[in-house]
Amino acid sequence: MKTHLMPALKLTLICILVFSGIYTVTIWGIGQIVAPNNGKGEIVNYVNSKENLKYGFVNIGQSFTSDNYFWSRPSAVGYNAAGSGASNKGATNEEYLALVQSRIDTFLIHNPNVAKSDIPVEMVTASGSGLDPNISPKAAMVQISRIAKARNISESKVESLVNEYTEKPLLGMFGPARINILKLNIALDALK
């Protein structure tokens, strides 16, 4: 053990220098060039309800609860991006099942034209991160009639917006289609 102690100590110091120091700084430097927004996370600008020019992160979902906007998915942490989290409720937990039932009821009250069997399950279950930036195209479709009514615009206009903002699977072949909820709602505000 003793003969190995000094080499171990020195090797540890060198590894810290190389793998924590040099590696990290190099990657950061490359990020300044190749990453969007210099590695600070991709952003998108908007004018918010208080008429101020603001920005948000494209990848970080935001809470949308107003009838005027496409709703985002339920979140176990209320879209707190400084403390992500899932509900971690088991599939058979009674308390949890009651919560899902109440989300279904709320959805039906706000969307009276929607049949219960058309509510996609992801709109009444919480995401893994609590910050899900996406909803599925189906989840947007069932909200069109509510939004058209609340904003007093035609349903076809909203529908074409949804189609425009539907992102295809990767290379058109892999994974699910999805919609970035923040981008869609910004576009909705721009619609006159």
Binding site: Y23, I30, A35, G128, L131
Partner: protein, 564 residues
């Protein structure tokens, strides 16, 4: 075919196609043959000179183990020091506090042993300094330790009689400079191109479109997540790991992360074939592991796609599957695939939350960790599988009346004892821990750390010890595990669950290497055949069923029958 299933197939096939040539490359690195990264040699030699290490000196199995354990002990002390003082140290833009001694003990061991069980949350629990200089550092060196130990064992399996099994420091350094570092750099760059943050500016304040003020945690994520996956570590930068949209922004990064965590465990199998010039043996091992993996992953994907029957009863559209704890951009199939892959190999990173999976999907995740040898972690996956090979050789030798031999070495009582102890200790730690927790806390209605009642609550505790023992690091995260009991007990389980399954196989391989080499003859039991593969699979199934079936009945199986 549906694009989500196609995505899953792509992830598997892509990894396999990359892993075969990469395995050949790893074998060359272990051999010390020429490779395109030889320009690193002067740097490596310079490091060895400063440290006073003679990397050419051959060591026996005991010396290799002592040098490995010594440096691991140094890392443990270093990690404790940083974690308990991070609040006072610089490079802490979010002003996160120092860890309590028990939490620091748990976290230091967790990252030291390549487990990455996290009883803290990344956003609030660690400073940037601790993330980069403590946790990420350990992610590099713990993975390299696993690969280096596997190299020692590979060396011992050659057709010769020797005590010289290479040099731990040499294998360790080369695993870092020739395998982990270059790959991490490539993967980190791909991540950043896809929008993963790499910044030191701390939390950002934004105002949402609806007008709420929100703080957004960022950080040097890309560098960290690259080695987190390549080293099968799995400890997330953020609390929600690879479900967090900054830690896994889109389907492309999901594919990259999936390939990154799978490639080294897979390549290590092929490296064995190239290194020993026994490609058929490597394919046999790959076949057994893949059969086990498919048996776990396919039913899990089907169950998750069907969704929660309790929610189906409420009458909503279930076509997306069980979406609680899952993200829309990955979808149910890719999430279910990840959940089994991360548990068969010992990564333990998650892109969806296992606590909310269907009861039997949760059981499959636990089974994957209980076996812990279908692919397995960086380097150590093969070591676990090696134990099962030894047991299978011995049993089949007895069955057909031949001397039990593996690769020309006779397996005798001493090796068998070690192999059996390693298997039994794992079952003891896992079930013993859960039993203690149930005994001490069972019936306590004031418990606040259990998130779910009934059978599922038991599953949460069982999962925690299973994950700690397998050095996996994923969790049924509903368990509020930052308490004195969980920090200390899982810390002890993790350290034993790491080093006993390393010391055992190295000892067996070292003892066998010293024995006389018996060339293959007509009387030799062939170990690279389909028949022997089936035999190993049977041994794994029987050992696992006998050890764990009763515990699984009390948790996930009981929960399944409560809703069906």
């Amino acid at each position: 075919m549906n694009s989500e299933i196609l995505g899953v197939i792509l992830m598997f096939v892509l990894t396999l196609v990359l892993a075969i040539p990469f395995g050949k490359y790893i074998a060359r690195v272990f051999e010390g043959e020429k490779s395109f990264l030889d320009f690193m040699a002067p740097i490596e030699n310079f490091f060895f000179r400063i440290c006073g290490i003679d990397s050419k000196k051959e060591m026996n199995w005991k010396q290799n183990l002592v040098s490995m354990l010594t440096i691991n002990f140094v890392w443990f002390l270093f990690a404790m020091l940083i974690l308990m003082n991070q609040g006072r140290l610089p490079f802490n833009p979010d002003s996160n506090p120092s860890m309590s001694p028990d939490l620091a003990f748990n976290t230091a061991i967790s990252f030291l042993v390549n487990c990455n069980l996290q009883h803290y949350s990344g956003e609030t629990g660690v400073s940037y300094l601790a993330q980069i200089f403590c946790l990420m550092f350990l992610q590099f060196v713990s993975a390299a330790t696993g690969i280096a130990v596997a190299a020692v064992v590979y060396n011992a399996l050659r057709e010769r009689t020797t005590e010289h099994l290479g040099n731990f420091y040499n294998y360790f350094m080369k695993s870092l400079t020739r395998i982990l570092l270059p790959l991490s750099a490539i993967v980190a760059i791909l991540f950043m191109v896809n929008g993963m943050p790499m910044t030191f500016e701390g939390k950002q304040n934004i105002v949402s479109l609806q007008g709420d003020t929100v703080q957004v945690s960022t950080g040097p994520v890309a560098a960290f997540v690259a080695i987190k996956h390549l080293g099968t570590n799995g400890g997330g930068y953020f609390g929600t790991n690879s479900a967090h949209p900054f830690e896994n922004p889109n389907y492309a990064t999901n594919i990259i992360e999936m390939v990154a965590q799978f490639i080294i465990p897979l390549a290590m199998i092929f490296a064995l074939g190239f290194y020993l010039k026994r490609k058929k043996l490597a394919w046999m091992i790959f076949g057994v592991m893949t059969a086990g993996f498919l048996l776990l992953v396919v039913p899990t994907m089907v169950m998750e796609q069907h969704g929660n029957p309790e929610i189906a009863k409420m009458g909503v559209d279930m076509s997306s599957g069980a979406m609680e704890g899952k993200e829309v951009r990955f979808g149910t199939p890719a999430s279910a695939y990840w959940s089994i892959l991360t548990t068969v190999i010992s990564t333990g990173s998650v892109n969806s939350f296992h606590d909310s999976y269907m009861p039997l999907s949760g059981m499959n995740q636990m089974l994957a960790m209980m076996v812990n040898a279908f692919y397995g972690g960086c380097g150590v996956g093969f070591l676990n599988f090696y134990i099962f090979i030894i047991i299978a050789v011995f049993i089949s030798g007895l069955m057909v009346g031949r001397t039990p031999e593996f690769l020309g070495k006779k397996i005798e009582a001493r090796e068998m004892k070690i192999a059996v102890i390693v298997t039994l200790v794992s079952a003891l730690l896992l079930k013993g821990g859960t039993a203690f927790a149930c005994y001490i806390f069972g019936g306590d209605s004031t418990l606040t750390w259990l998130n779910n009642p009934g059978f599922h609550g038991f599953s949460e505790m069982l999962y925690e010890y299973t994950s700690a023992n397998a050095n996996n690091g994923s969790g049924f995260e509903g368990l509020g595990d930052n308490t004195l009991w969980w920090n200390i007990s899982t810390g002890i389980v993790m350290i034993l669950g790491r080093f006993i399954p390393i010391i055992g196989p190295v000892a067996i391989a070292g003892i066998l290497a010293k024995k006389k080499y018996i060339p293959e003859s007509a009387g030799t039991l062939k170990t690279d055949t389909l028949t022997f593969g089936v035999m190993i699979f049977a041994v794994i199934s029987i050992v696992t069923a006998l050890s764990f079936f009763p515990a699984l009945v009390l948790g996930p199986i009981a929960e399944y029958f409560s809703i069906h």
